[in-house]
Symmetry: D2
Subunit: 334 residues, 4 copies
């Protein structure tokens, strides 16, 4: 008998990817998957890629979820805190939503509104000391997808004093699954194919999380919707704090022991397709010839390392399993 695992909010894209990863995880038994309007449907009707997975979506009910050893919450932002409060402390919880990420209640109020549920252990194992913190935690707030891509590129450089935290400019493009599964006109295939479309320019709700996680103190962040289902490519630029900074050396040292973060060989640049279906982050860095700015580019699968994969990675740590259990280092390409 394996570890009993449940997913609340299993009908969305992150939920579907969690189900896939859990179903293929050698130590996990998927015991409950819940949904809202689609409760009562077979999983494979909602996620045709899981044809053959014999499970029916249940209503989202704390009592049902409490029978699991571990619960993943993949709910819309603002909905996980209430549900989490109803789960017994004996159940380990990984929340993929934003509710428990921010330590700054004022930032929460400004970007999300409503009461601040308080911060949990932050689920990015590659940050210094965070692997141990997650292993010791019963409640973990998984990192947002843009925050993963940006923070893995930036945090070691800020921490090493290699770049100034005050003038960071990030342009990050995401595949459409990052915008969720709710049917909205601007997300129709007819609209997004062949199109690059910026949104929330100058005031994105992920800015506080990225600043908190990366150490940036001034962050211009422009997100763009890209014509692909999955993937985030973040271009992160910052002013070097000292002459002769070698950003590659800093990144190489920071991730020497991280099984999912790959600093590519010089001359190779990350691209999103290479991370599809994996839990990996690809990184490369250089110094701009014209301005001297440090440029770091990162690529992830927004549903992998940006959501479900990362959540499973955290769960592995919380349960004392090897970090990589049930996760793929390698992407599916082409």
């Amino acid at each position: 008998m394996g570890i009993r695992v449940a997913v609340a909010g299993a009908s969305g894209y992150a939920g579907g990817e969690l189900l896939r990863l859990i179903a293929g995880h050698p130590e996990f038994d998927l015991v409950v998957a819940t949904a809202h309007t689609q409760a009562g449907q077979p999983v494979s009707a909602v996620h045709p890629q899981l044809a053959g997975l014999d499970l029916t979506l249940a209503a989202t009910d704390p009592a049902g979820l409490a029978e699991a050893d571990l619960v993943f919450l993949a709910l819309p932002h603002g909905e996980s805190a209430a549900l989490a409060a109803d789960l017994p402390p004996t159940v380990k919880v990984v929340d993929l939503g934003a509710d428990h990420r921010l330590t700054d209640a004022a930032a929460w109020a400004r970007y999300y509104g409503g009461p601040h549920a308080g911060a949990w252990t932050y689920g990015l194992p590659e940050l210094p000391g965070q692997r141990a913190a997650i292993a010791a935690a019963d409640r973990v707030a998984a990192t947002g997808c843009y925050a993963v891509a940006t923070t893995l590129a930036l945090a070691p450089l800020v921490a090493a004093g290699a770049v100034s935290p005050a003038d960071v400019v990030v342009v990050a493009a995401s595949g459409t699954s990052g915008a969720g599964r709710a049917a909205k006109p601007h997300l129709l295939g007819s609209e997004v194919m062949g199109d690059l479309s910026p949104y929330k320019v100058g005031a994105h709700q992920h800015v506080p999380e990225i600043k908190q996680a990366s150490g940036a103190t001034g962050l211009s962040f422009t997100p763009i919707l890209a014509p692909m289902p999955r993937g985030i490519l973040a271009t992160v630029t910052a002013v070097p704090a000292t002459a002769g900074t070698d950003p590659r050396a800093v990144l190489a040292e920071a991730y020497a022991d991280a099984p999912f973060v790959h600093l590519l060989p010089e001359g190779s640049w990350p691209h999103t397709a290479a991370t599809l279906g994996s839990n990996s982050c690809h990184l490369q860095a250089t110094t701009d010839v014209d301005t001297g700015r440090v440029i770091v580019v990162s690529a992830i699968d927004n549903l992998g390392k940006g959501a479900a994969g990362q959540a499973v990675q955290c769960a592995n740590l919380m349960l004392g399993l090897p970090e990589t259990t049930g996760l793929s280092v390698w992407g599916i390409a082409p």
Copy 2:
């Protein structure tokens, strides 16, 4: 120490997918991967999705390959027979090329040209008796991608006498990876995105293989290049041989024990994205209201069940492993 596995022709798309599957296979050790012009390159330079896989491509040399217990040949059509002839009989071989598929030398000559190498055991385990034949074989010719999609849809209906084999019409669309990795102008992204493009209409080289495998005696086959990297959707229509044929019942019985073939619930139709990265085939069938023709639609990942996944499935059988070892039943979506 696991089973030592080699891949000849590892720089192409099927080769890359083989490497990914082998690297994640619990019983396989990837010992050699060979290429032609890219010999000497690290695998991850040629397949960036395999960043972190520490292996260098070797030149394609029978002596090197002979050190493996099992060799996959992922070479251009017409090149595998010569190499296979130089491998010792103690090495098990799965050929993903066309060289050893056709039993009819005349058909080989007509569509491919050059000497006919002779047929090996045909690598489609879901055909009657074929699972056992593959398990007993040392040399297996894996099925072509279009032939997999068409044969799984059609063969049980022909075998059951449910449809006439004489007037089968197939239109099948494939993602661009099916056309290979050689740089050709009509395969540029600028050309294929937003485009559906038929090719080899009325005389495709896969017709003899599909007829041989499916039992069709008259086959109109139109292939179409579709704007996606992976996936085949085959629409197969045939005239029912008897009134009241229930094609779903025939297919359900044929694949009752096939772990990778899923007859979808009535009303659900296969679509390619649901099979991405998996070794599964999704099927659905109905009877056309206007003409009474039986219509069967199948979907596969052309590099999965259509190539590398199927080859690993055959290898598992040849080695006495469970058929599903190291393969995914579930696709990656969206």
Copy 3:
């Protein structure tokens, strides 16, 4: 002062393409564009590609439309008949919906339901005698997009007795704009990109129209949603009625004077991207080596020749203008 033109249903995809064509038409003045929930919005808010077009969407009101010389109806199926009945006979009308296409009331009832509004002059100028009929008409029912692609490929062969009308098999794939602009989950970009998805297999509502227009008496029609915004590729196969049929010769003669129908040189096959933004249809035909079936492939832009372009072509004829006025023969590629 040009011809005063109105569009009812201007907020959808066909409506937007009509606005673009009308705005660029040398003889048309766009005077009214109406919508339902988006009445009151500037056109460019609903159709960002028309930035700079200074017009506000009005509510759909017969009195407002009656001020135009010509009205295009681009409404959902079943809604145009009632509106058309309220327009004075002095206003010429082209209906892009299905309401006035079918001559067979029973077929209407079976596939659409509700009362049958009766057939108008059928808006496919390339059919024999139809150019003159349209020129003489005040009410024209534009052809459906799948019917355009299939009928242009098939009708001349049936009319010439070159193929049997009784066993026609059509597989046609369409870009997603053919499914409309209403936000539905299965039309999200995340779902459609990288995917081919059949629908309404065995019983599509366009079958009666295609049979009526093409002369087919038995038609198996399978539509597929393809990962591109625009374009239809139809693969039409039929059994030759006589030995030695040359389908290319029949098509060449049928379209010798059709400015928008291009029979491609032998060996070139139509592909959808080459028709993007144009009112053209590309055709090619051959005889299948294995079965002797005639295979004709046609490509159109579903919003061009399949909807708005064709409607403008009909309007040109109704108004005594050259057929090609304000329309492009050439596509936009890549």
Copy 4:
């Protein structure tokens, strides 16, 4: 008899778009189109979207081109200067290549190599005074595609003293047609679909041109290849030079009389699909909440305003025609 127009380098993507625009231009007669390896081919064999255009590609020969009143050069960078030198001064020339753009010979040498051909009148009519300069010129160097998108967003702000020219950060993503039509492995559809891929990070050859045209003195420019055939989206950020800068007001004034540049209503952001097939540039600007940086986003069709459309716009001015003749303000969407 219209103005006789020739295109040298008609087989590439910019060349094809030039042919389409010239064929639809009311004052132009397309008299010669030349190519290198594809000389002797019908235009429609090389550009299937131009089916029905009856012209054969000639070899690239100065004598043949000299029979035209106006010649467009759409050749690879470094090849147009030699050909232009052989054209008589009576022939007006628009060069779409980079050879005559840079005034700084050292910058040419650093990024392109080879002898510097010297600068021609710069073909961006929307820059102050440039409309008149182009109208008076016989030789015009059309602006590069990235330079168009960046300069239209940035130049007015620099010129007005609204932003500092010294710390400009640009991330710009382009459709694949910007990478040309030569068959290269990394441009295959299988590679680019579903992928975002940065290139030449930190040292792109367009930096000197963008600095020259926009007035930037320090420019970090990161280009990204995006999974779509056409379109450029540029995100341009700069530090405001004075408190209370209103970037929208500066842009509105700069482009008040520019028929192809549209500053969108507040809250609407440019996206590439809305400019497809047009000669328009869409702009929007805001001030970043967190850093106070000015962010301007621009969208163009890289083959339209970024290449062929812009070149026709310049030619119109050189010939005393209205700037908009034969060009579309409106895009084709979806």
